[in-house]
């Protein structure tokens, strides 16, 4: 009984906390997790004798990070120029992918014929390894930023498509009946009922999409590029600079967390009723 009451009390105290939760990123527990991670890294390198060409020493990685961060933003050695290049491609790609995903997902949810027409191809397209279709992408979008943006868009498109489709279909029929009884147009029903209703799931798709857009830009750079974080990694690999690879990976990881934070922040602004709705 005591246990149960405790669980119940903690369940109660969970609710008021939720509006805050979504925006906070620097929670202490995450930092503790980081500390554990770094400590086990150090332990792995030193105790398990993992050779540094597999898992470099933390200090070497810190040095590598420092060499790329503690320079002028315009330095060719810095991470800033490649980051900017990768991020700007990823941002454009993400915008296109998310936009297309939302539009096509909405059309699929609204019109069954479109679902039948598009859905199989969306799945077929996503099943193709980007590396293998790179030549085609390069032909269509050029060797420059175009193909990076295209791959970024292609990767971020899919989760938004699936989640917006699923979310838009999962509206309570009563709400649709309400709009129908008001002779609302399809667009009105979509805008006023379906879209807000699907918002949490569209945001979940967006959450994945930003990460995949970043990944898409990097993957595209691996297929051949002049600049970008993918180039930084490839170049470090070419001289077996494992610490350099790790430094770049850490930057990408942090970037992923930051992008996730931005999406959650936007979600908290938009889905304001979701955090504390009760009835």
């Amino acid at each position: 009984m005591t246990d149960l009451a405790n669980v119940a009390v903690s369940a109660m105290s969970q609710k008021p906390a939720s509006p805050r939760r979504r925006v906070s990123l620097g929670s202490p527990i995450a930092w503790i997790g980081l500390a554990v991670l770094i400590l086990s890294w150090i332990a792995a390198v030193n105790l398990l004798n993992i050779p540094s060409y597999i898992l470099p020493k933390p200090e070497a990685v810190v040095r590598a990070l420092w060499s790329g961060l503690a320079v002028s933003p315009a330095s060719p050695l810095g991470y800033y120029l490649p980051l900017w290049s990768t991020l700007s491609n990823a941002a454009v790609g993400c915008a296109i992918g998310v936009g297309l995903g939302l539009v096509i997902g909405s059309l699929m949810a609204e019109v069954e014929a479109i679902e039948r027409l598009v859905m199989p191809y969306a799945f077929a397209l996503q099943s193709l390894p980007k590396v293998a279709i790179a030549p085609l992408i390069v032909i269509w979008f050029g060797f420059g930023d175009g193909s990076k943006i295209a791959i970024s868009a292609l990767l971020s498109f899919f989760p938004v498509l699936i989640n917006s489709f699923t979310g838009l279909r999962a509206v309570e029929p009563e709400r649709i009946d309400l709009m129908r009884s008001l002779s609302a147009s399809r667009l009105e029903t979509y805008r006023i009922v379906k879209l807000p209703n699907a918002a949490p799931f569209i945001f979940a798709g967006l959450d994945m999409a930003v990460v995949y857009a970043l990944l898409g830009a990097i993957v595209a750079e691996f297929l051949g590029a002049q600049r970008g974080m993918g180039v930084v990694i490839t170049q470090a690999q070419a001289v077996s600079d494992v610490a350099g690879v790790f430094a770049a990976l850490i930057i990408l990881g942090v970037l992923g967390i930051v992008l996730h934070g931005i999406v959650r922040w936007c979600e908290a602004k938009v889905v304001h009723w979701g955090a504390n709705r009760k009835k």
Partner: protein, 275 residues
């Protein structure tokens, strides 16, 4: 859920019988349940409603009242029979009709005021509402709650907001599914009076489902008594009590007791068949 059979005959082919707004003719509705079994919700219902009439429907729970209302609202297809609204076959929701659903059905992402004003923002052009929304909120005791979100309202307050929403557009025909069920007696009486006032002022056509026999007699020109499933019409009783009616007067009217007893008797008979 069988499809209604949509024929391509011209719309005005079946002219409205003189002075009939809603013509229900041998209307049936059969649901196919998840297990594949057929549930006969309505069986060959026939009923004509004239413009400006106030009709109340009573009947045991599960007898098909909500189903009838959904068919009239054009929200579901019927299985058999004919259903004309203003002489036109009902094939979907019409702008002329406002609906109060059995559940309040407010949108959680909008404030109460936005929920109530929703009918004025969708479904084509509408006459400007002026302070209509505010007046509705005031009448239903929600004046202070316009800027709150639905989850901040009590169950009864949500139901009242739902009623405001249905009245917002001032529709020609008002279909109401137990609108006052979740309200306390006094609020209920006040809203009954308000509804009577609205109806007398601009003579809407109202079909109201209720479980309260006294409410039905107080409000209605005609009380329709339905049988247990499959829903059929047991009686169509005229209420000859003059308007405006008040709750204090009506109980004294000789017809009141007679009608109440008759309705109660009909429902009671049902009840026994049902058990």
């Amino acid at each position: 859920m069988l499809m209604m059979d949509v024929d391509n005959a011209p719309r005005r082919a079946t002219a409205a019988p003189d002075g009939v707004l809603i013509a229900i003719d041998q209307l049936s509705k059969t649901y196919v349940s998840a297990s594949g079994a057929a549930v006969h919700a309505l069986s060959r219902i026939s009923l004509d409603i004239k413009p400006g009439e106030f009709v109340c429907v009573v009947g045991p729970s599960g007898c098909g009242k909500s189903t009838l209302l959904r068919l009239l609202a054009g929200l579901d297809g019927y299985s058999d029979g004919r259903l004309l609204l203003d002489g036109e076959k009902v094939e979907g929701p019409s702008r002329k009709v406002g609906v109060v659903f059995q559940a309040a059905n407010l949108l959680p992402w909008m404030t109460v005021r936005d929920n109530v004003g929703l009918p004025l923002r969708v479904g084509g052009k509408h006459a400007p509402a002026g302070d209509r929304i505010d007046r509705l909120l005031a009448v239903t005791g929600l004046a202070d709650f316009g800027d709150k979100y639905p989850y901040e309202l009590s169950g009864g307050m949500q139901q009242r907001a739902g009623i405001c929403r249905a009245l917002a557009r001032d529709p020609e025909i008002l279909l109401m599914d137990e609108p006052f069920g979740a309200l306390d007696a006094l609020t209920r009486e006040r809203l009954n009076l308000e509804l009577q006032r609205i109806w007398q002022e601009n003579r809407k056509t109202i079909l109201l489902i209720t479980h309260s026999i006294s409410e039905a007699i107080f409000l209605a020109d005609r009380v329709i008594v339905m049988s247990a499933r499959p829903g059929r019409i047991l009686a169509d009783l005229h209420v000859p009590i003059p308007r405006p009616r008040t709750f204090d007067d009506i109980v004294l009217h000789p017809d009141y007791a007679r009608l109440a007893k008759e309705v109660r008797g009909l429902l009671n008979a049902q009840e026994h068949g049902h058990d």
